[in-house]
């Protein structure tokens, strides 16, 4: 191998990355929590991030929706996403619908037009992931086909399974941060087998052969590209897709078409 070979490999990956149109389920604004070297991503830095990491847009979240309050994060996202154009949508932080809480949170009226997903933090925000507590929220999301995002570190597998079964029309996206999902691969794959509404996001779905295994077992439609930037590097999940032993059609679905379809199906 010489420098020319290496540059050819890099060029090929760059061109393939641009062609696949990566659309990111996990772009995080605001000051990150728990990652001492991660720097805050500001809205005016988004174009540079997209260009350097070959992304076409994505779903924006705000750390304040976890670390401060749902309302603070959602309010900030609403202001930011309005000015960003058609390539960005927001994922709001959601809470149980009872007791009724201050706005803006999902479940009151209709969602603003650029908000196309909801995320819950049951552990951080101190509520059980059980139907008697979050059932009305899940009903509301399910009726509107609004995808529900959840970090695997914020849920236990039993209640997540019960919830996915109870709300079969609710698209659930299990996010693989903020610790390795690797050690939970057995329940994760069993959950995907038993609940066809469960999808998995790719930012830490990096166990050897996981991607091809999931495509073989459950189809490419169940995988969603997400980076967890700026904590993690979009090149990590991108690499899993670029060199995957799957068809180009399947790569495009995972890279962005699946998430765009879920967003387009939201009834708001």
């Amino acid at each position: 191998m010489n420098l020319d070979d290496l540059e050819a490999m890099s060029r090929e990956q760059r061109e393939q990355a641009k062609a696949l149109g990566f659309f990111d389920a996990g772009l995080w604004l605001g000051p990150p929590e728990g990652f001492p070297f991660a720097e805050e991503l500001k809205p005016d830095q988004l174009p540079a991030l997209l260009e350097s990491r070959f992304l076409t847009g994505g779903l924006l979240s705000h750390w304040h929706g976890k670390t401060v309050s749902a309302q603070d994060g959602n309010g900030k996202l609403l202001e930011i996403v309005e000015g960003l154009g058609q390539h960005f949508f927001a994922a709001w932080t959601a809470l149980p619908l009872y007791p009724a809480e201050a706005e803006p949170v999902p479940g009151k009226g209709e969602l603003p037009r650029n908000v196309r997903a909801a995320r819950i933090f049951p552990k951080t925000h101190h509520f059980p992931l059980e139907e008697w507590c979050v059932g009305s929220l899940c009903d509301w999301l399910s009726e509107r086909r609004i995808p529900l995002l959840i970090w695997h570190t914020e849920a236990e597998w039993d209640p997540l399974y019960r919830l996915a079964l109870a709300f079969p029309k609710l698209p659930i996206i299990v996010e693989t941060q903020t610790q390795k999902i690797l050690y939970h691969s057995r329940p994760l794959f069993a959950l995907m087998l038993n609940c066809s509404n469960v999808h998995v996001e790719l930012s830490n779905f990096a166990g050897q052969g996981f991607l091809e295994y999931a495509v073989r077992e459950f189809s490419a439609e169940r995988l969603i590209f997400g980076s967890f930037a700026p904590v993690s590097d979009p090149f990590v999940p991108m690499g899993l897709v670029l060199d995957a032993d799957i068809s180009d059609r399947e790569k495009k679905l995972i890279a962005g078409a699946n998430l765009k379809r879920l967003i387009a199906e939201v009834r708001a």
Binding site: E7, F189, A206
Partner: protein, 263 residues
């Protein structure tokens, strides 16, 4: 060197017990390497990490030989079985593919600076072999990582300056990474590999700017992690191609003497 391509400097072979792993055999590894343009790799196996290398090195030698010399193996030194590990390591010094020593203070529950590791360092120094260690940052949810923080290795690094010493995982995602970078700058013998899920944004660019580029090694941690995750980060990183070549090939070739010994 022309027959040596990308070198994966940190991986494992065999079935791990603690998670579901769809692919992990030597044959599958070689297929994966072929697909990605990885010509050589440095490996241990899960039995060795669990029990030490006392009885495992012949099997690793056989895997190495079956690979046509593409897979180079490390002897895991367990401080709990020091004498049998040392005896096995002595026997392996003339074997083809034997590339060095691996230690894992967190797994063996023995702090990195413990005197029980000294025989491994002395062995490496006497035979001109490198040591690869697990290293990480102190962790709230995984307290044993405290046993492998980079600064703990410093006394032995200082006492054995001839031993090429690789801090696997580059000290992890937290404060350990700063310690690792400092040591790679401070000690001529200290290298970093970024195997594992050190998925930090712009890690390659950051390491290349803060650590001498001849000190940075590509590794995957296969089958824990997919080599594609870390390989693409290098191929697409905003660094010069000469830097990429050093990270992907030259540095590991120098540390583990790959391309020098007969296959």
């Amino acid at each position: 060197m022309s027959t040596v391509g990308i070198i994966d400097a940190h991986l494992h072979i065999g079935q791990p017990g603690v998670f579901f792993s769809p692919e992990n055999s030597p044959e599958h590894l070689l297929e994966t390497m072929d697909r990605l343009g990885v010509s050589h790799a440095v490996f241990t196996d899960h039995v060795s990490i669990t029990e030490g290398c006392g009885a495992t090195l012949p099997a690793l030698r056989e895997i190495s030989e079956r690979s046509g010399g593409r897979l180079h193996y490390l002897a895991v030194f367990s401080p709990h079985r020091a004498s049998e590990c040392l005896a096995a390591m002595e026997r392996a010094t003339s074997w083809p593919g034997f590339a060095g020593v691996k230690i894992h203070p967190s797994f063996h529950r023995v702090p990195a600076e413990d005197p029980r590791y000294e025989p491994a360092w002395r062995f490496a120094a006497e035979h001109g072999l490198p040591i690869l260690t697990h290293s990480w940052s102190a962790s709230d949810y995984n307290p044993v990582q405290q046993l492998s923080t980079p600064a703990r290795f410093e006394p032995l690094v200082g006492r054995f300056p001839s031993v090429r010493f690789v801090l696997g995982h580059a000290g992890g995602r937290g404060a350990g990474r700063h310690e690792a970078a400092r040591m790679a700058n401070q000690y001529a013998s200290v290298y970093l590999d970024f195997a594992g899920d050190i998925f930090c944004y712009r890690l390659i660019e950051t390491l290349a700017a803060t650590v001498p580029v001849e000190k940075i090694l590509f590794g995957s941690d296969y089958p824990w992690l997919d080599p594609r995750a870390n390989l693409t980060r290098v191929l697409l990183a905003e660094v010069d191609a000469t830097v990429k070549l050093r990270i992907l090939r030259d540095n590991a070739a120098r540390v583990y003497r790959i391309g020098e010994q007969p296959c």
